[in-house]
């Protein structure tokens, strides 16, 4: 990585030096052509003077023209021919124009090189910075549940607790483990998605079936948290998508909704679907903490964790919605988020292309 960078910077410097050299050449050649033309004119002046001297010495005009053919002789006077001077001037102008065009072209080419190299350098620096940021955040995300696990275990070792006192500690530890497992899965998913290393096998599939499958998986948790999941998705709405990714997307949004409703002490999550034009829209609406309407884009960024209400914190990985957005992008669908504000609940809308009618 480091040697590549050295090469890139060296190449950039070489190109910059080339630009300066070409620029200098251009100026130098122009001056050279001007000087050469002036010299040629001077030379021509000498020829005319020589012809005059020869005429004055009595050499016949015909003989003079044999030696100095570019001189015009009118009676006994030698004169410069306008066409010769014009030719010299034309030569100078055409050379100048040639040099200007050629060096202009080279400068342009070099300029493009500079732009390409420096852009690559900047992009690379940005990638490195993002990776550092990613690592810092990932390590923070892992260390918190790890610290909590260690603390609970050491508490149990250090203090003699009754089974009733141990219970909350054990629950906490199980939750911390689950958190770390989710984190690993999501990090792997998001890295694969980002690199585009996920193959989607798109096929017609029943959205209603996917919804009831995911709702079934989360029912125990929602009941514990006093959250009602009301799913009203009729069978027969067929979307054109990858079944795995549809499950992940719905699951992430449902988990997100549960996490938003839990802090307010329970509520409802409503799922509904309808056909809109060439798409099928799935709406997931919750009565949870909501978010500021202006945050509806920030929400989907990697490691974005909005803390609604200021004080209470939402324990997420900061990756769930990022994965949703990326999956929907890669699948040719879309996702959007709406909320009236903090404490007003939220609505997420997923949209997939409708499955093409079966070929008879």
């Amino acid at each position: 990585m480091k040697t590549t960078r050295v090469f890139q910077i060296t190449a950039l410097l070489l190109v910059v030096v080339s630009v300066v050299t070409v620029g200098w050449w251009m100026i130098d050649l122009r001056n050279f052509v001007s000087t050469t033309t002036e010299n040629a004119k001077l030379q021509y002046g000498h020829e005319v003077s020589a012809a005059q001297v020869m005429l004055d010495a009595g050499v016949p005009g015909g003989k003079v023209l044999e030696t100095l053919p570019r001189v015009a002789i009118e009676g006994s006077a030698a004169k410069p021919m306008q066409s010769v001077i014009a030719e010299l001037d034309a030569e100078r102008e055409s050379r100048k124009a040639q040099y200007e065009w050629e060096s202009g072209f080279f400068l342009l080419a070099l300029g493009v090189c500079i732009a390409v190299i420096s852009r690559a350098l900047r992009a690379e620096a940005q990638v490195l910075q993002e990776q550092d940021h990613f690592l810092a955040l990932v390590s923070h995300q892992f260390k918190t549940p790890l610290a909590s696990l260690q603390l609970s275990l050491e508490t149990m070792t250090m203090r003699s607790l009754s089974p009733a006192e141990q219970r909350p500690l054990i629950d906490r530890m199980l939750a911390d483990l689950a958190r770390m497992e989710t984190l690993v899965t999501r990090i792997l998913d998001s890295v694969r998605l980002e690199r585009g290393r996920v193959e989607f096998k798109r096929q017609p599939m029943d959205l209603g079936a996917a919804v009831s499958r995911v709702v079934g998986q989360l029912e125990t948790r929602s009941t514990q948290q006093r959250i009602t999941i009301a799913a009203d998705v009729p069978r027969g709405l067929e979307v054109f998508a990858d079944p795995m990714s549809v499950d992940v997307v719905i699951r992430n949004l449902l988990e997100n909704a549960l996490a938003a409703v839990a802090p307010v002490g329970g509520g409802t999550v409503t799922l509904s679907a309808q056909r809109v034009g060439g798409e099928i829209e799935l709406s997931i609406r919750d009565t949870g903490v909501g978010f500021r309407p202006t945050d509806n884009v920030e929400l989907f960024k990697k490691f974005s964790r909005l803390h609604p209400g200021g004080g209470t914190s939402y324990q997420g990985t900061g990756l769930g919605l990022f994965i949703v957005r990326r999956m929907m992008q890669l699948e040719g669908g879309r996702v959007s988020a709406h909320s009236e504000g903090l404490g007003q609940g939220a609505q997420f809308v997923l949209a997939w292309p409708i499955a093409p009618a079966e070929v008879p």
Partner: protein
Amino acid sequence: VSAVPQHAPATLLVVEDDPHLAAGVAENLRAEGYTVHHVGDGTDALEWLRRERCELVVLDVMLPTMDGLTVCRTLRKEGNNTPVLFLTARGDPQDRIHGLEAGGDDYLAKPFHLHEFLLRVRAILRRWEWYQSSSASPATAVLRFGGNEVDFRAFRARSFNGVSQELTEKEAMILKVLAEKPGEIVSREDLLERVWGYDVFPSTRTVDNFILRLRKRFEQDPAQPKHFLTVWGVGYRFLLEGEP
């Protein structure tokens, strides 16, 4: 770790946004006999600390809305010298130094050992208790030397040239340790141990920097100190009267 603090139970503020970790830390501190308050965010922590008093703040670095370093810096700027123990997921030396520069007293990286955490809490409280009890009487609260006057309780001083100075907690503590035994040699390790506790700083150079700061504040010619004398290879000696 068993002993319950001997005096009135110390009050601690735990600032941690992770509910599990916060609960674990608070429960263990309560089991040690401390009174514990908990807030989950930097802004709330500042608000609480402006309203209430406590003996120690256990402060997470990564917090929503306002991070721990900013909280600590703001506290110090407002003249609040309550000791701070940073808890953080980042443990490299650079971050450690950032934490201490922000005015923190100690720094513990997550995941940490419960036993070590409790020991450090106790160490900070002990150092602090020592500082306060040794500045309690009117005779020990104020130190006068070479035209300087230091008020240990207010962390303020007026130097020989009439300039009033705000002392940081560490400067005041170092001065206190030195002034306890005027004329005697105090080693750098002693100063580290008494003021910071064991392994907080990577080197004893830090002590030297603090001595330089004290000289700048209180010596007429910091290059030719008369009160804060270096004893080469050992440590420092403080003279009340000043070297003739």
